[in-house]
């Protein structure tokens, strides 16, 4: 692998990311499964970086999952998106930051389609007026939340209390990145680093002291596939795609997987559990899995957030070996406590995955 070659490509895909005043929209999946990640993201941006990032209670789903499950027409999803844009404009913002990759891709696609077919944009404008009496303005900048963390990766590194380094050996942690498919595969120029060698997560890992691991199936989809997951009869597809990725990364012995898509950490985490429970195979050391974390969680870890505040307990793959390697202090007893130390029990143990 020739690092300089990649650098050259990265240098060609540098998208402009605005400095401040962001309009934030949430991700359905991330909110449901990793609420702490979004909370951490907002905390870092607002309190650690001192940026203006605004969230309105009136924003909704973009409808992307329903759209990509082919349950709602294109016009419907575009009108919902137009409504989101209208909320942004109404609140005086023009830098649109979304937490979800599906949304991000969909926004990019929508804007591109409107650009190519202005009559469609006009139609949507009309739809929005008819349904909500709202008018929208297209955002000036459309960015994914991970773009923002990427932009401030060095500032975060400066505030970091630890690095992505094995404190026992001094070696950098081997980190695998996984980019959501809709981040840049459709529009390579819309993603930091392009589609083939995206830099958005690599930049964070480098800045925070980790060692990036490139393995053959890096670009492969996690296998969510929308309808391929929601219907039980289709889940073999979803599972098999993740399995393929893990089989490919196994020889590289990664310590950690970092993702920027809401669904991917869920699938890369849970499918390890299913593979372990149904075939007995695990990919981490000594029967453990490989933790698949969100970029917010990783940022939180290096900045010294408590792992249980970051919601690392909601991953099925245990994170303790990783925390040990990084030298993160944690109280195992507090892992599954509710708010204010309330005892709400703990998940049943797995039969295979440690």
């Amino acid at each position: 692998m020739i690092y300089e070659g990649k650098q050259k490509i990265w240098s060609e895909y540098q998208k402009e990311i605005p400095d401040d005043h962001y309009f934030y929209v949430r991700s359905c999946i991330r909110q449901s499964f990793f609420p702490a990640s979004e909370a951490t993201f907002l905390d870092i941006t607002r309190n650690k970086l001192g940026k203006d990032i605004f969230e309105t209670e009136h924003h909704t789903t973009c409808g992307g999952i329903a759209y990509h499950s082919d349950t709602i027409p294109q016009e419907t999803v575009m009108t919902i998106i137009a409504r989101q844009f209208a909320l942004m404009a109404k609140n005086g913002y023009e830098n649109y930051v979304c937490s979800c990759i599906t949304s991000f891709g969909l926004y990019c696609e929508t804007m591109e389609t409107w650009r190519e077919f202005p009559e469609l944009e006009a139609k949507i404008r009309e739809n929005l007026w008819k349904s909500c009496k709202l008018e929208f303005a297209k955002p000036k900048f459309l960015i994914h939340a991970s773009d923002l963390i990427y932009k401030y990766r060095k500032l975060i590194a400066a505030q970091a209390v630890r690095k992505l380094v094995n404190v026992h050996t001094g070696e950098p942690l081997k980190v695998v990145e996984h980019i959501g498919c809709h981040y840049s595969k459709m529009f390579p120029s819309k993603g930091v680093g392009g589609a083939e060698y995206p830099y958005v997560l690599v930049g964070m890992i480098e800045a925070w002291g980790g060692e990036i691991v490139d393995y053959p199936e890096r670009r492969h989809c996690c296998g969510f596939g929308f309808r391929q997951y929601f219907i039980k009869g289709n889940r073999g597809y979803s599972l098999s795609n993740t399995h393929k990725k893990f089989e490919s990364m196994e020889p590289f012995k990664p310590d950690l997987i970092i993702t920027n898509c809401p669904g991917c950490p869920y699938f890369l985490d849970r499918w390890q559990y299913v593979i372990a429970e149904s075939t007995g195979k695990t990919y981490g050391q000594d029967g453990h899995g490989i933790p698949a974390l969100t970029y917010e969680e990783v940022a939180g870890l290096v900045m010294g957030y408590d792992p249980w505040d970051l919601g690392l307990q909601t991953h099925q793959v245990g994170v303790e070996p990783l925390l040990d390697k990084m030298g993160v202090e944690y109280d195992p007893a507090k892992k599954y406590l509710g708010k204010n130390g309330k005892d709400i029990g703990a998940p049943a143990p797995c039969s295979c995955l440690k």
């Binding site: 309105t56 209670e57 289709n234 029990g345």
Partner: protein, 231 residues
Amino acid sequence: MGKLYDLLMKDYRLKEGLNACINCGTCTAICPAAEFYRYDPRRIVDIVQSKDDEEIEKLLKSDTIWYCGECMSCVTRCPRKNAAGLIIMSLRNLSIELGYFIESEKGRQQYLLTKDLCSNILDYGYCVYPRRFDYAGHPEAGRVWEWEEKHLDDVFERLGGNLDGKGPGAMRRIPQEDLEQIRNIFDITGATERMENVRKAGEKKAAELGMTVEEFSEMVYKQSDPKHLNH
């Protein structure tokens, strides 16, 4: 010739996604679905561009168009700037509009998907809503979800969420007026009509098969014929 093709061409996704395919196979080469289903996106694009209505109709009624996971990996690599994924989406769209989807095992799944996802959006403003994501239906969500499901309020509170709460935050209750607006959008853009049609088609199919709606739903949720796979 080309009636179905003309219908397809009304779809902006097809307009964007189809630019004279040269059958090079880059899409299939990296397609996650082509690896695990009996599926070849290149063939689909080729059939669509043939404008052969008979073949297109076969497609619309087949399982084939439902294998794609819409990851859009194909878009990156196509040397002709085609988007097999978008073509699939417009085929699915037409299959649903014409009611053909109910003919195939995989297409039929739209009945459940439409019901669940659309009601999530209309009821809560989210595509996914944790209180409707049950461990029983999703054993793969793991022991940790089994635990979370029982203590959703506590977990969300602990993790800085705002489950069903007022104001902004993760999983907040979205104000009713916003949900009304979403419903209006659904009505105006044809989503409501589609939901209805899909529901009716599903119920009709259930009746045809001599099943109750519950039995039908159960079957659609779990059924998976090995014929979909390569062996």
